[in-house]
Symmetry: C2
Subunit: 212 residues, 2 copies
C-alpha cells in the first residue's frame, strides 16, 4: 500500500495538487472526509471540529500526548477527544490497505509506521493571497491585507498543532521527502510530474523489498 | 536557455544528482570548473579559492555588496576579489546561452535575472555521514563524529555565504522551486524524475511565452 501525505501552507494550492496527484495515480483521496467523519461520530458541527483541530493549544492537551497515543494520561477535553478521534480515523484509512493521498491532518506523522511519501506544498505570499481571492465566494469582500493576516494565522496554527505531535518542524526540509513551491506552476502540470516522482519512489521501494 | 541551479547540504549527494540531471537532459554541467577558472585567472591555488568562497566573513566584504554587484564601493581584499570573479565566471557561463546545470556557488541568486529553476538537495544526517565515509579515499581515517562536525561547519558557512548576497535563506522552502531529500533514493532514479520536473517547468514556461 502506498500512502502519500500532503502538508501545505494555506493558499498554496496544496489541496488541489493532492487531489490531482490522486487522480493521476488512481489513488483514493482524503481531505474534508476526515473532518466530516469525526463530526458525524461525535455529533458535532464540522466547523467546530476543524477549528478544534487547527487551534489546539498546549494547555488543552495531555502532557504525554507527544510521546504516546496509545496510553495518554490525558485530561479529557473535547479538543483532545477530537485529536484522538482524528488519529483513529486516519488509522482506519490506512488499515483499509488501499493506495491513497491524504491532505493535511499531520498524516505524515500519524502514519509514520506505514512509511508514507511526504510532500510539503508552499508558494509565495502574493500568489497565495491571489489564490484566496480567486477562490472566494461571490459577494465576499476580501481585503488582501486581511487575507495575509489570515494566512499567517492559519500557518502558525498548523505549525503549532504539528509541534504537539512531532519534533520535526512543519515546513522544514528535514520533515518531508519533497517540498514543492507551486509559484509559477500550472497545477495540472505540477501534479503530473510530482505523481511521477511518487510513482518512482514506491516502484523502487517495492523492487528493493523483493530483492531483499 | 534553461538554467538549473543546485544548492545542497554537504554530503547530501547534491553534486551527483546535479551531474546526473545534466546527463539526463543533455545540459552542460558546471561545478568545480568555476573554482578552477578563478584559480587559473588569478594564479591562485584551487583549495585557496574554494576556502575563500566558502568561509567569507562579513568583515572582509564590502558594505554595499548585498545591494549591488555593479558598483561596489568595496575594500579590496583577495576574498572580495574572488567573490567578484566568481560572479563574473558565472555570468560568463550564462552568457553562453546554453542550457546548463550549475552546482553550488549561489548561482540561483547570482543568475536570478535568467530565471533559473532552483533545486535544493538535502538528506538525513546519518545518510550524509555514510556518504562521506563511502567517498573517502582509501587509508583516510574518518571518524563519524568528526565528519558530523565537518558537515555542520560547512553547511554553516554555506548559509553564511549565501546570506551575504541574498535575503532569502539558504535551505528554506521559500528560496527554491523544489527541495528534494535524497534519503532512501537511488540517485539515478531520483535524477530521472527530477529531470522530468525540470523539463516540464521549462516546457510550460516556453509555451506561456509563445502564447503571450
Amino acid at each position: 500500500m502506498n500512502i502519500v501525505t500532503i502538508s501545505r501552507e494555506f493558499g498554496s494550492g496544496g489541496r488541489e495538487l493532492g487531489k490531482r496527484i490522486a487522480d493521476v495515480l488512481g489513488y483514493d483521496y482524503y481531505d474534508k472526509e476526515i473532518i466530516s467523519t469525526i463530526a458525524k461520530r461525535h455529533n458535532l458541527d464540522e466547523n467546530y471540529v476543524e477549528h478544534a483541530l487547527t487551534s489546539a493549544h498546549l494547555h488543552t492537551l495531555p502532557l504525554t500526548f507527544k510521546h504516546s497515543f496509545t496510553s495518554p494520561m490525558y485530561i479529557a477535553t473535547p479538543k483532545t477527544d477530537i485529536l484522538l478521534e482524528q488519529k483513529r480515523v486516519i488509522d482506519e484509512i490506512a488499515e483499509k490497505g488501499r493506495n491513497c493521498v491524504i491532505v493535511g491532518r499531520n498524516a505524515d506523522v500519524l502514519l509514520k509506521g506505514y512509511e508514507p511519501f511526504n510532500i510539503f506544498v508552499c508558494a509565495e505570499m502574493e500568489e497565495r493571497i491571489k489564490r484566496c481571492i480567486d477562490r472566494a465566494e461571490k459577494g465576499e469582500n476580501l481585503n488582501p491585507k486581511e487575507i495575509k493576516k489570515k494566512i499567517i494565522r492559519i500557518d502558525k496554527n498548523r505549525k503549532r498543532t504539528r509541534y504537539l505531535i512531532s519534533e520535526k518542524d512543519w515546513g522544514s526540509r528535514k520533515s518531508y521527502h519533497l517540498i514543492v513551491n507551486t509559484t509559477g506552476w500550472d497545477l495540472k502540470a505540477l501534479s503530473e510530474v510530482t505523481a511521477g516522482v511518487v510513482e518512482r519512489w514506491f516502484k523502487d521501494k517495492e523492487s528493493n523489498t523483493e530483492n531483499e
